[in-house]
Structure formats: C-alpha cells, structure tokens
C-alpha cells in the first residue's frame, strides 16, 4: 500500500517566506520517498468531498445545502453583515476550498436576505498581512465588491464585557449589525486548545485584540485558557450580533463536508467528536514513531507545517496524549515554553520533553512570523539555504532561531548529514501533501503495521475518555 510520493502544492509567494524559485527541491523528490494514504492507514476515515472529481463546485453545493438549515431571517435588507474568516482556512489544501465557501456564503446571504452590505473580515495570527495576501490571491476583494479586509490584533479595539471581566475584540470585526462565523474544523494547534471549544476559539484569537490573546496565552493556564473564547462568544455584545456559523469540515484526508448552524455549541460538539476521532487517530499514530528525521516543507511558520492534516507542533508533542485533559501540560505550548529556565531545564517538575523521537529537523521550506526558537533550541535543526536563514534572521519573532541551527547548502546535503547523525533512515515530510503522508519506505512500512492497533485503541479506549472529559455523549454520534 505504499505508493509514489504525492507532490505537494507549490511554494506560495509571500512576504513571510522565501521566493518560490528559491525552494529548489521538495522532500517528496528525495530518493526512497513513498506515500501512504490516510485511507490506507485508517480505512474507516470519513469520506472526502474535496479534493475530488467534482472540484470546487462540490464545496459550493455543500455550502448552499448546509446553509438551507440555518435561519437567516434576522438579517434585513438594509442591515450590514460581517462574514468573519481566519487566515488558517487558507492554508488548507491550498486555500481554494475555504475561499470558495466564503464566496458562497456571500451569495447565499444576499439571495436569502436581500442584504447588500456584506463585508468580509479575515483575522490573522502573527503575520499581519497574511490575510491580505489571501484575499488578493483568491479574488475575494472583487467578490465582496471591495469590502474585504484583513484585520490584525493590533488594530483598533473594542471592550467586551464578559462573565469573567473585560476582554477586547477587534473593532472592525464587530462593526456590522450581524456577524457570520465562517471557519474550519481542522484541529491544527490542538496542543493549545486541547480540542476544547475548537469551534469557538477564533472569538479569542482571530477576532480578538492583543490583550485577549495575551490573556489566553499567559493568564489562565494550558487547559483553562480556552474559556477566554467562550467568555467572549457568550457576552451580550457578541450574542446580539451573532447570526450563524458555517464551517469547512476537515479531516486528515481532506474536506469531509460543510456544516452550518445557528447554534455554535451544537456545531462545536460535532467538531469535537470528529476532531477527536479522525485527528486523534493520526496524532496517536505519530506518537508511535520511535525515531524520525522531520522535513519542514510547507508555506507556513515552523510549528504549522502540515502532514496528513496534522502539524509539526503535533508531532513535537506526540510523545504525550495531547487530547487527554488529565495531563496538565503538553510538550509544547507557550505555557510549556515559559516554564524552561535559562539553563534549558524546566523550572518545575513534570514538564514533558519535546518528542524525543524527532532526531533532526530539516527546515527545507517554512515561514517566519511565529516565535519558533523553542524548536531549534530543543531539536537539532538544519536550515537549507542562506536565503532561508536570512529570512528568519530578519524576522523580529525569530531573531535567535538560527542561533541554534546548522546551515546546509541544499536538501540532499542536509538529509545525508541528518541520516548520519541520527542513525535512522526514517523520514517524515510535513509538506501539506493532500490526504497522504510523504515518508521514507522504512517509516511507511512501520506506520502501516502500527495503524490498525492505533485505530482500535482510539475507538475503544481513548475516544470515550476524550469525549467524556469534554462533556460529550458519544452515543449521539454512533450512527455517523
């Protein structure tokens, strides 16, 4: 069941990464690389609607169909509506399916309500112009008739009174009569949100000011922090504006559908169930890997590079069950990072180490714009190409990233060196290949052998525990 490697999407032109022509070789082009499909690892994985033969039309149809379920009668023709998006949606499968969903939402709202003042507001993480880049490249500005904007957490704010006190949102997110929450269900930084209120999280991140994001990452603790988003969403200020939520439903194999609801918590429960099940299996499988050279090869900052729907940061934490809320601290979050002293050792007992199975990281292609020095401090890292090193040296968030990294002229040299020092030929590429993992043959065989046991363990033992911790009754989902 090992196949020829799946070629990843080409590098993306962006101010946060090196120019595409400087990415001279991809991990998938290395000798001995093969690919294993998610479906071959987990035959019961949810069926995918995209990528597929129907192309983007399938996304359009699914969005329309799901939106039939939601009540939009609160929106009157003269009202203003902000469709709220997040930059992460555009990193999924090249971004086109998320962009298509955003376009369809605008069309449906217009048709059903007669409302013409429909704007798109797309939040960002730590690369403040990233959403602007996506808006332009997918023609969303034209589609929204000049009313599409990227918003950043340092933009003008608005105070929001919540159950726990005052928090702050971005004014431009909320400057309409109604808001539509247009997100996706990929679990990405599960090490932070622990799959608790995943569907609500953007209210504490993409749509929030720096004060709120700093509250999440500094004031509450690794498992209580998710409440920040819920506190904002539940506030009278947001409830008064909230119309509905529409989600691109993701799995490690691709887009499995679109889901929409006027009740965000009902949608949240569905996201939690499928997220724990499908991503839970993939992450548990990564935790079985005993040794590997990891190649970063995707247009995203270091922790967010993808492989089969999960990100490098998930692999960095795969030595622990990051879904298990009884475990206080994953091997990587900013809380974890904050707990290391100057000597590189933890300030308290019980701080789990970064996944020791990751022997060497090869930074073949990844962006700056996210504080990533933690990774080079903890894992031997080889950066490919001077241009890439220079990009990180220029990045105010990564001034010391290359301080702990070696530099290689090209990918082949880096791999040869890594194999020698790590003493392994197991390679795992985080290159965004769709529905598959690009890996070396030895690792492919290893994973195929481990997957059935992992699948059974998640279904029978881990999933019931994870859902119970989140207050979700699994029997509601058994028929799915």
């Amino acid at each position: 069941m090992l196949r020829a490697p799946v070629m990843p999407l080409p590098p993306r032109r962006s101010q946060y990464g090196v120019a595409p022509e400087l990415v001279r070789k991809r991990a998938a082009e290395l000798p001995d690389m093969v690919s294993v499909l998610v479906r071959d690892l987990f035959p019961d994985a949810a069926p995918v609607i995209y990528p597929g033969e129907g192309g983007l039309e399938v996304i359009r149809t699914a969005t329309r169909k799901q939106m039939e379920k939601v009540d939009l009668s609160m929106i009157k023709p003269g009202d203003s509506v902000n469709v709220l998006g997040s930059h992460h949606g555009f990193t999924l499968l090249g971004g086109a399916p998320y962009a298509e969903m955003l376009k369809t939402i605008r069309d449906v709202v217009r048709e059903r309500t007669g409302c013409t003042d429909i704007r798109l507001r797309v939040g960002v993480g730590l690369r403040f112009r990233e959403s602007e880049e996506y808006i332009k490249s997918f023609g969303l500005d034209e589609y929204y008739e000049g009313k599409a904007a990227g918003v950043a957490p340092v933009d003008e704010g608005v105070a929001i009174e919540t159950e726990i006190g005052t928090l702050y949102g971005i004014k431009k997110i909320y400057d309409a009569r109604w808001i539509i929450h247009a997100h996706n269900s990929d679990v990405r930084e599960v090490h932070f949100h622990r799959q608790v209120d995943r569907a609500v999280k953007p209210f504490g991140m993409s749509y929030a000011r720096i004060e709120t994001r700093s509250t999440y990452h500094q004031n509450l603790g690794p498992r209580a922090a998710n409440f920040v988003a819920r506190a904002i969403f539940d506030s009278p200020f947001v409830q008064e504006k909230f119309a509905c939520a529409i989600f691109l439903m993701m799995s490690p194999s691709g887009v499995v559908g679109v889901d929409a609801d006027n009740d965000l918590y009902a949608l949240n429960d569905r996201v939690t169930y499928w997220g724990c099940r499908d991503y839970g299996k993939m992450m548990t499988l990564l935790g079985e890997i005993d040794e590997a050279i990891t190649i970063l090869d995707f247009p995203s900052p270091v922790p967010y590079v993808f492989a089969a729907g999960v990100i490098f940061a998930n692999f960095a934490g795969a030595n622990r069950d990051i879904f298990d809320l009884d475990d206080p601290l994953p091997p990587y979050t900013w809380y974890t990072e904050a707990f290391y002293g100057e000597d590189g050792r933890p300030l308290i007992e019980g701080v789990p180490p970064v996944n020791p199975a990751i022997k060497v990281v090869i930074h073949n292609y990844a962006w700056g714009g996210y504080p990533s020095a933690f990774f080079t401090e903890h894992i031997p890292t080889v950066v490919v190409g001077r241009e890439q090193a220079e990009l990180l040296n220029r990045d105010p968030q990564n001034i010391s990233y290359t301080k702990h990294a070696l530099l290689a002229e090209d990918l082949d040299t880096a791999v040869c060196f890594a194999k020698r020092v790590a003493g392994t030929d197991k390679i795992l590429a985080f290159d965004g290949a769709s529905g598959a993992l690009n890996i070396s043959r030895s690792l492919g065989e290893y994973l195929l052998q481990k997957a059935p046991l992992v699948s059974r363990r998640v279904d029978e033992e881990l999933l019931p525990k994870w859902l119970k911790q989140r207050g979700i009754d699994p029997s509601r989902f058994k028929i799915c």
Binding site: F227, G341, I348, P371
Partner: protein, 204 residues
C-alpha cells in the same frame, strides 16, 4: 533581551499621514509631523509593527549598520524586590513572558523597580513587546499593577487597552457552571501556583 538589527524607513512619497503607524508602535518611536511619518532611529526597535499595518505600504525595514542589544541589567537592582514583585504578579522570576525575545519576568520587574512606569517605557528598556507584538502585554500590565502603578494609555493609540482577568480571578459560579466542559480552572491554577512557588533555581 532584544537584539535590534532592523530599523523602519518611511517612503515620504507614499505616506499619507494617516497616523496608523504612530498608534501601533510599542515604543512610540514613530510620529506623524507635518502629515508625514518620521522615525526616531535611536529608539526604533525594529519590530515592524508600523511596516505591517501601514495601509499605504510606505514603510520598509532595513538592516542597521551596527546592531545593538536592548536589555535591562539586573546588576544594580535589589533581587529580593524583583522576586517579590514577580510573585505578587503571580509570575516566576525566570518565567519567559515574551516568547520572541525570551524576556523573563525578572527583567521587566527590574525595569519597573528602576523607574519604568508604562508598557512603552518597559519595552524601550527590555525589548519586550517588540517581537510578535501580541502575546506579552498582559504579564507586563500585571507586573505594573503589582507594583501599584496604573499606566497611562498612549493618547488615541492602539498599543494596549487594559488589564484582563487571570485564573486567580475566575468567579466560583463560572467554574461550577462550566465544570463538565473541559475547563480545568482550579487544576491549572494549581499548576501555575506551583510554578510561582518554585525555587529560583528550578524544580529539579
């Protein structure tokens, strides 16, 4: 500690004098004068906030000929007072509070004890808040608050709005209401308390 290697440069032909850059600069090093933005090169910490938010794309970041280090020295400060201030803010002195610059709580506490009275002044002395510009405002405000200082917000600026709740402030009824939904308030408080109470040398 912040290594400053870049500086903002304004293209005056493109600048429309909108003041956005002035409102987001964490160290107040860029000001609009006569409808054009002007960078105070001595104080610019190269954070690129202005470059990232200028609607006219009028700002570029250029390499400094000579890089410099911005750091508050712990040498002439009463360490017992530093530790006490950190603990009152529920922070371990060695805890990192700014991930981009790896600034630890003790450095910010030292800046406050040496006279810094606002987040902007603290950033000028330590470099904190000049990496991602997003994640470190609350510990800075917490340390100021613990020192009994209520800083003044930059007039019309977006640099920061205010102090927000911590896990030590969550009302009991909120904890009870959401106990079944995966929010581990008391457990996380215990974890953070164990950090705050850990010895200066760490827990091993």
């Amino acid at each position: 500690m912040r290594a400053v290697t870049l500086c903002a440069v304004v293209d005056v032909d493109k600048c429309k004098g909108c003041t956005r850059c002035e409102r987001v600069c964490p160290v107040l090093a860029i000001k609009v004068k006569s409808k054009k933005a002007v960078v105070d090169v001595e104080n610019c910490l190269g954070c690129a906030n202005c470059e990232q938010r200028c609607p006219e794309m009028a700002i570029t970041m250029v390499h400094l000929e000579q890089s410099r280090i911005v750091q508050e020295s712990l040498a002439e400060v009463d360490m017992a007072a530093v530790i006490d201030l950190c603990r009152r803010a529920h922070l371990h002195p060695k805890q990192i509070i700014c991930y981009c610059t790896a600034t630890r709580a003790e450095e910010v506490a030292a800046a406050i004890l040496k006279g810094a009275k606002s987040p902007e002044e603290i950033s000028r002395r330590t470099g904190v808040r000049t990496g991602c510009k997003v994640e470190c405002i609350q510990p800075v405000l917490r340390l100021l608050h613990a020192a009994g200082i209520t800083p003044e917000r930059p007039a019309r600026g977006y640099q920061w709005y205010g102090l927000t709740p911590t896990v030590w402030d969550i009302p009991e009824e909120v904890k009870k209401k959401y106990a079944q939904r995966g929010f581990y308030f008391d457990e996380d408080r215990k974890l953070l308390d164990s950090l705050v109470g850990a010895s200066e040398k760490g827990g091993r």
